[in-house]
Symmetry: C2
Subunit: 166 residues, 2 copies
DNA sequence: GATGCTATTGCATCTTGATGCATTTGGCGA
DNA sequence: TCGCCAAATGCATCAAGATGCAATAGCATC
C-alpha cells in the first residue's frame, strides 16, 4: 500500500500508483488531490465538492464522490462521521482515532485508539473480529448532558446510516 | 417513561401517552403502530413505509418517518444500523444489543452489551460519557475475511452517516 | 353537537450521495 | 506520432430521508 506514514508529499505518489494499477491520471483527479493536499483533519465530501467548485465550477459531484471512494480504497483517505453526522474524510496520514458523539447536545470528541483498546482486544480474542477504530463513532451522552437534566429529553440528533450499494 | 419492559401490549398505551402530552391519535399513527405491533426484531424505516403502503397505498413517507422519530423520542423504538447499513429500528422491548459489521463481506452480528462493557466502563470513568450500546455499530473485519485473503482488497461497503438536522 | 386552537398531514422541494449509460479521453503499443 | 481500448467523465435519474408550509382535523371545552 502506498501511504504508510509519509507526510503530505505522499500525494505525489498517487499519480504513479494509479498508473501502475492501470487507472488514469485525469485533470479532475488532479484537482481533487490538490484540494485534498490543501486540507487537513476532517472534511465532509460535500465540502470537498464545494472546494472543487471554487476552482472549477464545472465540477461534477459524482466524479468527486467516485474519486474519494477510490482514494479510500487505495488507502489515502479514511472516512468516519462528524458531529453533524455526515460522512467525513480524514486525510491520511493522521493519527488514527475514533469519535464520541453526544446524542443530546450533538457535540463530538476524538477518542484515542487506546481508549477502545480493551474492546478491540476483547473482540479480537472472542470473535477474531478486528475493529476499524478510525471508523468507530460511539453515540451516547456526555457528562454535561447526563448531569444537566435527568429528564428524558428529546435526543437532538438521530443518526442514520447509508451504504454504498454494490 | 412509558415502556419499561412490558411485552407487546405496551402499544396500547401509546394512544394515552400521546394524548396526555397534548399530542394526537390519528389514523396514520394508528396504522403505523399496527404495523409495528406486527413486527419483531429489526426493521428499516423504508420497510415500515412499504408495509404501511400495503395497508394503505396513500401512505405518505414523511408522515411515517416523523412518526417513527416521535416514537423513538417517546422510547417505544430504538434505531441502529443494519447489515446493509441503513437505519434500522428495534421494536422495544428487546434485549439491548450492539452490532458488528464486516466492512469486507458486509455481514453483521449482534453483540451482547457485556462484550462492550469494558469500553463502556472505561468511557464512563474517564469522561463521564455513557455509551448508548444499542446504537453502537462497530465496523471492522470478521475472522473469515481477515484470514481468507491478506491482500488489501476493496472494502465492499462504505458506510456513511446522516443526521436529522434540527 | 358545535367551536376553536394547534398538532398533524400531505405536498413539494432539497440534500447527499449512488448508479446506469453513452461519450470522451488517458496512455500504452506500434 | 497515431490508434485503440478500457477507464473515467458527465449527465440524468433514483433513493432515503429532512423540511417548510398551507390545509386538515384531533380533541378539549362549552
Amino acid at each position: 500500500m502506498a501511504v504508510s506514514g509519509q507526510p503530505a508529499g505522499s500525494w505525489s505518489e498517487v499519480r504513479d500508483e494509479l498508473r501502475s494499477r492501470g487507472l488514469r491520471w485525469t485533470p479532475q483527479r488532479r484537482m481533487i488531490l490538490d484540494v485534498l493536499a490543501a486540507t487537513q483533519g476532517h472534511v465532509t465530501s460535500s465540502e470537498i465538492v464545494e472546494r472543487c467548485r471554487e476552482r472549477d465550477p464545472e465540477t461534477t459531484p459524482s466524479t468527486v464522490y467516485r474519486t474519494l471512494d477510490l482514494l479510500e480504497e487505495l488507502g489515502y483517505l479514511k472516512h468516519s462521521h462528524g458531529a453533524d453526522g455526515r460522512e467525513e474524510f480524514h486525510v491520511l496520514p493522521e493519527t488514527e482515532h475514533g469519535h464520541l458523539t453526544c446524542e443530546r447536545c450533538g457535540r463530538s470528541w476524538e477518542m484515542e485508539p487506546q481508549e477502545a483498546s480493551d474492546l478491540v482486544r476483547a473482540l479480537e480474542r472472542s470473535r477474531g473480529f478486528s475493529v476499524d477504530v478510525s471508523h468507530l463513532t460511539i453515540a451516547g451522552q456526555c457528562t454535561e448532558c447526563s448531569t444537566r437534566s435527568s429528564a428524558p429529553s428529546r435526543p437532538r440528533c438521530r443518526l442514520s446510516f447509508r451504504v454504498k450499494r454494490t
